[in-house]
Amino acid sequence: MARLLAPFVLLLAGLGAVAWIDQSPPPAEFTFVNQNEVFTLDPQRMSYIQDLRIAHALYEGLLRWNTDTFEVEPAVADLPACSPDQRTLTFRLRTDALWSNGEPVTAHDFVYAWRRAIIPDTAADYSGFFFRIEGARAFFEYRARQLAAFTSDPWRDPDSATPAATLLAVDRLEGLISASDLLSPSIARPPADRARRLREGLERLRQAANSGQRATLAAELRLQNELRTWHEELQGPESRRAEAMRLWNHAERRFAETVGIRAKDDHTLEVRLERPTPYFLDLLCFGVFFPVHRPTVEGWPRRGSFQPWHTAEPPPLEARRWIRLNPESGRLEQRHGWARPGIHVGNGPYRLERWRYKRDLRLERNELYVGSISARAASIAVTFIADTNTAVLAFESGRIDWLVDAGVEYQADMLAQKQRYIRRHREEIERRRALGEPFDAILASLPAPDPGERRNIHARPAFGLDFYSFNCRPRLPDGRENPFADPRVRRAFALAVDRRELTEQVNRLGEPPLTALVPPGSIPGYEPPEGLGFDPVRARHELAAAGWEDRTGNGLVTDAQGRPFPVVDLLYTTNIPRWKWMSLALGRQWESRLGVRVQLRPIETKFYKEDLKQGRFMIARGRWYGDYGDPTTFLELNRSTDGNNDRGFVSPRIDALLDEADREVDPRERFRILRECESILMTEEVPMVPICQLVTLYMYEPGVVTGLSDHPRMTQYLWRVGREPAP
């Protein structure tokens, strides 16, 4: 019997051991579910909403939004002094701002962080935001070209060497022949006569590459024996390391000389813009512009003093723990071992107390923070609950104060319960709203909801929209002619969409229907135009004008030769049921109102992006969130060269208008141009049909949790959110 018990004793002992190792902290003052696990705490690498929400707590930028009005307010710096040509902004930084390790926050921190965001090595999604700054785009391209040249090796396979790659290699080698700053004896400068021969070889190679003939180029590459030998010498690990270092030194110097970001002194930052940019100050409030503490993110060896880092000589690259130059690619690689409690250093109202993967993240008030705001809750716990049903249950049980997104299947039913509650108290609510009382306060003071009613779910309009994209390319990937290349067909499809049916009967979340791109009221001073509403008669006319009519009376449209309209390939993703229901309803609307056949094509999100990029669709679902307070955050999607122009939409008129707005200095005139651009997009060109503004479903007890903004830009600062003390 004793032997039989042995396994159980072992099991229990293991259990005790694990329970003892794994212990939890006391509950925080404010707890919320962040919807998704934080991807990164590196502000320059951020792009997800849940990451940026944490960034506003851990860091502080030069400026910040007022999240109720979306005007720009001072943060680390005052509002800048602007030069007469509106291209030079001078920021005075607060002198009392500190990092959470006690060092002062200086202008050099911003210069460093912004450089990180701009270099292609960091691979920041938002590096394009910095291209407004003078020289930033040119610098990005310089470094990208430098790295491409470093890895280009036309000798590896001369027959497949491209002229472009060869020219890059020629440039690189030419630079090395006369380089005076080689850092390793293994790539010492060649003696004069060899250098001459090498130069001649390079010149011939360049001519061969410029001829554009692949065969000539391959022959020339094979011919250049001396050049190849020298090239091979340079490929040794020691040489590569030295050369990567040399390139990096050049890039660092070039950044300091050509990019318009300068620390004039410790507390003065001067930014020179490429062109006057009215929304640049709004951009500065965005997380990617937040500073980072260089010794922390690079992993400098511990230093004794609290002197600002820029006053000392940086340690050699090899001594910095989290970055290294990759000798194969030449890139500066950054690791994120610093994004940990105890190591992380920020300058925001909170500091990182705890972070466990897909478990929880805990923020504690940063006692060293000085500024115009103050952290309300002493501690904030960010819990991670993958399953939305469980998250709602956790909220219902009172464990969570704020649920950022109640994305459950019964969300519409919960909203209906709230509508029922509001209907019952309509008179009281309307009377007090007329007196200007905040909605949440009114809700909180009403009697508790009956069974079947609720007041703790809140649909807030968001800074984004759902739309359906038309493939505007002249041909489909299989070579067929694409009917949607014709704007009349696109207009017909847009006019046949009954958005009310979609929002009221399919989604049932009370989303405001949209006929244009920019959500109304989200950008101060900008009034979006009216797009194409629901008009089935005009839709038929547009389709007929494009040559598609019901000629046989069977309800299906054909062209003059009697060929039916191609079956519409409607692409949507399977990650959430919403897309299925919306696409089904839309397909039905188009079939019944236009006389076309629609084939739904559900697809995994991973394939979807690839299909969009390759144009393998006729109509595809889409979603876009704005990033900054300017209409271009939506309109640039339709620029012919934009990386997110999935529609393959090319319109010189639209590009010209966007360019014109770009050059315009007067903000009013600029908005007029953009409005005209949006109007043409939404009533004439129609590359996409907007469906509705997105809403986010918050769950919190009104009156208990306060400080959340309901502005459609949908940014919540954690430092102003908290629980009201119990009465």
């Binding site: 794994d22 090595d121 590096s127 990759n326 890139r331 399953d387 049903n389």
Partner: protein, 318 residues
């Protein structure tokens, strides 16, 4: 005995290499780009290129070898890694290394798994013994129904049912999450059910067989009470099939049940694994698979050792 252990341990590297290669092939074949984000902005091509290079996703060959270098400990021997077995950075959560993710998730899964197995053994053995000693009685019938339910009801039904009953309707336990012993109870019960049911069945069959064997009848004839005969003699042999089942079952329970972890919002390794496959986070897939493999191998070894110790016949023949 020692020879057996040494031999089995010596086999581990070869087994792991085969598992590594096969998992790598399967994971590499999952379509899609792990660095692509599902929604929103698409980074410029240069940026994507930079990321692919940094994680060696350009070529399967180079990825295979450099990952093996880290995972096998060779990189550590060369002094270029902080971990003995460096399982690389996670692709879908770049601030974390796979080692850290495992270190955070495994204790959770193991705790729940251990408790679940303890429960499963306790419930399963008791139910099995009752059923086995009195076959076709009411008690046997009751345990049969219990076993049928445990095996056939999916865990997400049991889990959600328990949640609604004991966390929402009667709020005795927390709804989900992790931190206090109370968080453990419902997930452990849910996870234990199918195992308990299976153990009950195994024990019952074993007991029926043993109770009819000659040595038990002889013991009864010598005047031992039925209870003594059952617990002292029959159970000992009836337990052997259960013991051999316990090895893989414990390994399975401890490496995390995706469903239970999802329903109860447990930050365990099972969820991470499924998320990793969905996101094609290839470094995490490889890391978790290798860890699972090691645990499974070690548990099977442990069971063999226990077998030797519990069953004298095997001890003699070895």
């Amino acid at each position: 005995m020692t020879a057996l252990i040494i031999r089995r341990l010596a086999q581990i590297p070869a087994i792991l290499l085969v598992i590594y290669t096969m998992t790598f092939l399967l994971a590499w074949m999952i379509p899609g780009n792990p660095l692509e984000k599902g929604e929103g902005r698409r980074p410029p091509d240069e940026i994507m290129q930079a990321m692919m290079e940094q994680y060696r996703l350009e070529s399967s060959w180079s990825f295979y070898w450099q990952y093996l270098e880290g995972a096998s400990g060779i990189r550590r021997l060369r002094g270029r890694s902080e971990y003995i077995f460096d399982l690389g950075p996670s692709l879908s959560h770049e601030n974390w290394s796979v080692n850290e993710i495992l270190a955070a998730g495994l204790p959770v899964s193991m705790t729940v798994g251990l408790l679940a197995m303890t429960l499963a053994c306790a419930i399963g053995l008791v139910a099995g013994i009752i059923g086995g000693v009195r076959p076709r009685s009411v008690a046997d019938f009751a345990t049969l129904i219990f076993a049928l339910l445990g095996i056939s009801l999916p865990t997400f039904v049991i889990g959600t049912g328990l949640l609604v009953a004991f966390a929402v309707t009667i709020p005795v336990f927390p709804v989900g999450g992790w931190g206090t012993p109370a968080h453990l109870i419902l997930p452990a019960i849910t996870l234990a059910m199918p195992f308990a049911a299976y153990i009950a069945r195994l024990t019952r069959f074993g007991m029926i067989e043993q109770m009819e064997s000659e040595y038990v009848r002889a013991a009864l004839a010598r005047g031992l009470s039925e209870r003594q005969a059952a617990l002292r003699h029959a159970l000992r042999n009836a337990f052997l099939p259960v013991l051999s089942y316990l090895g893989p079952a414990s390994a399975m329970a401890m490496t995390g049940s995706f469903v239970v972890e999802k329903v109860f919002a447990l930050p365990g390794i099972g969820t991470h694994f499924v998320d990793a496959v969905l996101a094609k986070d290839i470094t995490l897939i490889m890391g978790v698979s290798l860890t699972f493999a090691v645990i499974l191998i070690l548990f099977n070894l442990a069971v063999d050792v226990l077998y030797h110790w519990v069953d004298p016949r095997i001890r003699v023949s070895a």
